[in-house]
Symmetry: C2
Subunit: 288 residues, 2 copies
DNA sequence: ACTAAAACGCGTAGGCCATAAACAGTAACC
DNA sequence: GGTTACTGTTTATGGCCTACGCGTTTTAGT
């Protein structure tokens, strides 16, 4: 009735199409909550919680991220967190998006190929810097603002190309997939190398990497276990092709620096994208 | 001091090269245990345990795989499992390898490209059939017999190519990475579609997919949430490229059947591999 | 100014989970 | 027959997430 400050229930800045009901988690992700407040101003905030959780994950891995540990880190009791975060699942989603804020800006004027390579490399670097990101449970949650911003940058790189947007999205998706796989493999081989160094030094499995000799880790052969297993248990009749291929490969292969591995994958995938673009006529044919 | 029954530490059946000490988990994986036995013959076996665990994961997801549930399934107490498996981590590794036994045989006479495509597709299909495989924690564990067999098949496909084995391994690794990413993306969008159908039908989040209409899931748009979020919260100033790209894309894009998505990625990656092989001179140049 | 509602942070408690340690029974070896 | 190794079990510990209900604090509305 009152004409001033009517507390209309619907609060839609733009008239959203079908007014689909979004999960509360998504609304919080996009900072769309806080319509009105009456109680005491919160001493704790979701950002603080997420920040503490990220610090914890950086320092001790995702397994160390428990509500109790986070609460301890921010100086509250575990249950206090639930006023700002609906549960652990939502917290993990928020962590994932918060980390994406660290991604750099990609220059859009260097051509599509250089741009996509930079975009991909930045994401791989992020995954290597925070290995716990790849351990996050698969979730059907829609991306948050930072991640969307990152997708937007990819569209900026692809902007000069004459290609329908869904095909651009497919290309971006392909690169994103490659990122996931590449980072995972890199991390796994690093972990294997660390583990090998630990065993050789006779240290317990839980020894933090910081106490290990970085040079030894660098020099460790991540395939050591694999080779030992093969030479001990496997025979040429069950794995004929493998044995034939490696018969002429006794002491070769000093482990190539990891940068080369990354370049190999990126080059191959981008070559594939280039072939696709040529086929679609989105780039000139460059025939010699 | 004592000369009798010296507890010799070394017990090596064959004289293995550097006598590296492998983790017990690996030895069990390769079935190299059981040197002597004196007690009662075991009623339970590791294979039984792994089988029950896989059944459980297939039916209710990896989260349902707890030692207690497995024990219940095989009819023993939880602690009985520890006589056959060192812990849950080892169990997961064994599950991962056991599943790889279901992979088909790849015909090696259809050319490298067709062979690699079949190899990749089979692995993606496996991941889609058992989504929990992708939730397995990253592990530095060396592969088991079945997985090595699978790698051997890839080497069989690549056998005619004149390429050093480490480069072949890099190619295989690239495809394996792609598999991981592709399966993960497919599963995520499927999960999003399921979740959307659940919400539209007003069912609780935990409703099993079996109670949902498969046609509705098939028809659901996995980007629905994404689009709603964008249209409601995002504006053209923060995401300029995204908005420009999709400005001309109002109601297009009936979700393409998932097979096409898979084909897009595989084609691109194999095109990249082909470009690499050509560059290396491993296949004829085929220039028109 | 007074009241009532709303939001805050906290304590308790319950139900999971993995697994360490000590125990009793069994079958092969010497 | 005694020893010994191996089996499955019982009991117990410490961790985890979170449902529920409590006092307290602040603001909106009268």
């Amino acid at each position: 009735m009152s004409t001033d400050t009517t507390p209309e229930p619907a609060e839609q800045p733009h008239d959203a199409p079908p007014a689909r009901e979004l999960p509360a988690a998504v609304q919080r992700l996009w900072g769309a909550a806080a319509p009105r407040r009456r109680g005491p101003k919160p001493a704790l905030s979701a950002a603080q919680i997420v920040g503490a959780a990220i610090d914890l994950a950086d320092a001790e891995g995702l397994a160390a991220v428990s509500m109790a540990r986070i609460a301890e880190a921010v100086g509250y009791t575990p249950m206090a967190l639930y006023r700002h975060v609906s549960g652990k699942e939502e917290l993990l989603v928020m962590m994932s998006d918060a980390v994406a804020a660290d991604l750099p800006d990609i220059p859009a004027d260097g051509g599509w190929r250089a741009g996509l390579e930079a975009w991909t490399r930045a994401q791989i670097a992020l995954g290597l810097a925070r290995p716990w990101m790849l351990e996050l449970p698969l979730s059907a949650a829609p991306p948050g603002p930072n991640r969307v911003r990152w997708i937007d940058q990819a569209f900026g790189v692809l902007r000069p190309l004459d290609l329908p947007p869904d095909e651009k999205l497919a290309i971006i998706g392909l690169l994103a997939q490659h990122v996931l796989g590449e980072a995972r493999v890199q991390i796994e081989s690093h972990r294997a190398a660390v583990q090998q160094v630990r065993r050789e030094a006779g240290l317990p499995d839980g020894t933090p990497e910081s106490e290990l000799d970085p040079a030894a880790v660098e020099a460790a052969n991540p395939y050591a276990d694999f080779e030992t297993v093969l030479s001990r248990y496997a025979d040429a009749t069950t794995y004929p092709n493998l044995f034939e291929a490696f018969a002429t490969w006794p002491e070769t292969a000093p482990p190539t620096p990891p940068d080369d591995d990354i370049a190999f994958g990126i080059t191959a995938v981008l070559d594939g994208v280039e072939a696709y673009l040529r086929r679609r006529g989105a780039i000139p044919d460059e025939g010699s």
